[in-house]
Amino acid sequence: MYCVPYIEIWPESAFNGSLFPEEQAMCQTQKAALFNLIVVVLALATVLGLYPFLGRGATGGFGVLGFLGFSPLFFRRHRGQVLADERDQLIQRRSTILAYSVFWLAFVASMMLALVFYGGDGAVPVLVLMNALWLGFMLVIGVHAIATLAQYGRGGTNARS
């Protein structure tokens, strides 16, 4: 469809000062999503890794999630830089819908499991509730990050919702 001069990608990457093919350049939202996913995985790994040694004390590993507070640093605005355009906002909106839909399914499933494990007249331990809270939070952040990265990996989505 295009003439030969239009097909050259590498010269354009060099002109833009990037060492990588232009398709591999990540935007701020991608970087933040990848960072959030790494933090969630690290937190889960910390808790699971400490559990054989500390038992219930391993729940302190959820403190690793505090690093999520650094994700806004990816959205520091530089002069003339567009942080999030229509495509970024659409991807974020779809990721949020998916994340909270999955959370809702997990929440309903956990309530059903609580009924099975503890019975109708049983009492759910507070520690279980706290762990469920942290796991739910991690589920939302993790699914949101994965959905964001997956959509960017496919080249984005259409503007029409």
């Binding site: 001069p5 354009e12 833009n16 350049a25 935007c27 080249g155 503007a159």
Partner: protein
Amino acid sequence: MRDRSELTNRIREHRFHNGEMTQEQLAQRVGVTRQTIIALESGKYVPSLLLGFKLASTFGVKVEEVFQYNGTSTAP
């Protein structure tokens, strides 16, 4: 019935004809990120109407000269 429309564009060609504009320059002019321009040119993203008009206005042409509708919409 499912819409089998297909949208192609000539953004890269118009960039070349407009002083060999880079993707970054075009992105700044229309207010999007360079990744969005990349996705547009590779046909992986269909822009909003507003962005389509902004792109055409930047190139000084009509929208139809930037985007081409190649499919056929099926009647319900």
